[in-house]
Amino acid sequence: MEYCEIITNCANWHNPHIACLCSAPYTAASTSARNNALLIQTNSSPILVKYTLTFLLLMTAPVAPVYAANAYITNQGANSVSVIDTARDLVVATIPVGKGPVGVAVSHARQRAYVSNVDSQSVSVIDTASNQVIDEFALGGSPVGLALNDDGTVLYIADWFSNQIKIVDASTGSPLFAISAGKAPAGLLVNGMQLYVANRDSNNVVVIDLEQKRIVHEIAVGEHPFGLAMTPDHSRLYVVNVYADSVSVIDTMTNQATTTIKVGDHPYCAAISADGKRLYVTNTRGDTVSVIDTALNATIATINVGSVPEGIGYAADTHKIYVASWGDDAVSVIDATANKVTASIPTGKQSRAFGQFIANASH
């Protein structure tokens, strides 16, 4: 009996009665090989397929009725980006990029994902329609944090060793200007014509006016701020303070830090729910995610996730939260309605996904 190593031309995975072409047939003599195989009835003859978890998931996953964004996960130890289809919670592509990728920023409108290759000192540009690298911007320095403006035309890069924010044309990589930030700038967040920068070693957030091209406010926060998140109505900015095990809440109208929320051990990043009511924070040494009620400004739940959780993103269309697990080389998926982990998706070594890595249609 023939078995199949590689299935091709199998466009309709959801219907097992459509024939798939076997491009790598083999004869498996052993019982264990047969036991590992799965029988599909086809129009012509049965084909035995090598069993994979992917295949099972494809068979059982419902066709998503709404747009479900891809998530772009940087794997710092694998020099690659894992692309996750958030409708099926599967890796659909693994893209080789530069050395030591960490930061990521995605534009749904322009179909681009940008990844900072810290060790290559560059940014890789990915066409999200084809999931291919189409360009690499050589930058020098130590590019880590990335952000895009609302229409995806301008890319902001935090160089955490030169304490500068470099601003480049997102299409060509042409430098537009650079602004001194504080010490060791990390998280970036664009809000209209303002850029917020978390300065890890200054223990502050600076507000840069992008028209005046200068810092217009400096806001003291907790110790070692790293990740940033903002409510959908732009009224509040959340700053994750790594050494203080806390989140600072900033009123964006007054540019004042109004309160501090206790979270878990050595928190790094945060993501806001689509309705702004919940903030999710990764605790890298607690292996948990803290769930914050943004009206109460308090942690209301703690979810066990993968080892050393870092980057976190909220998929608006499916209300799932994706957490890069640096320790597990995987992504934990949380159902936001239940506050429970529903899947762990293997990605690549030392997944980080620092930044806005989900191509939500409503940015």
Binding site: Q76, V102, G140, G173, P175, D265, R285, G327
Partner: protein
């Protein structure tokens, strides 16, 4: 175009064209032990008993301060390592600790030892993972022994020596 950008970038940062901070490093090792998870966890969770199995450690001294527990390891080769217990979870069979100071060429070292049942019946898998940075946090040139390679090599040595010894102890009568 990229060459031009590189020149511009270098001109913007004349002194820091090669600036690069340290990246977090990972060492992860695992071993399968032919002993019940409860038994293996009993050995692993004994924070002050690591010298009973790790061949590099001559003695362990446990101390407490406020709500923290520390262990001072004295190495057979000389030198000490002071570690703080972060958590010990019986349900997850997970031990977390960090290095406060010591002779290992690492910085910000956090480690987790986890005992999992399986793969087979009556077996356990121990996973030992550490996240750390190299000692030297500034610009290159990096002094000898303070680079990423030295850090990784040292931690790998600790795990490679320890896990087989843990296995031997757990499998013994």
């Amino acid at each position: 175009m990229n060459k031009l950008l590189a020149i511009i970038a270098a001109a913007l940062l004349p002194l820091t064209a090669f600036a690069h901070g340290p990246s977090p490093q990972k060492v992860e090792k695992e071993i399968v032990i032919k002993a019940e998870p409860a038994k293996v966890w009993g050995i692993v969770k004994d924070f002050g008993g690591i010298h009973k199995w790790h061949p590099a450690i001559a003695s362990t001294k446990v101390s407490t301060k406020d709500s923290d527990t520390f262990r001072l390891l004295t190495l057979k080769d000389g030198g000490t390592i002071n570690e703080r217990l972060k958590s010990s979870d019986d349900a997850d069979m997970k031990l977390k600790y960090e290095i406060i100071e010591g002779v290992l060429p690492v910085a910000d070292y956090n480690a987790t030892m986890t005992v999992k049942p399986g793969p087979g019946a009556g077996e356990s898998t121990v996973v030992w993972m550490a996240r750390f940075y190299r000692v030297y946090k500034l610009n290159p040139p990096i002094p000898a022994g303070q680079d990423d390679e030295s850090a990784i090599k040292a931690v790998t040595g600790v795990f490679d020596a320890g896990l087989p010894a843990l296995k031997k102890l757990a499998e013994g009568k």
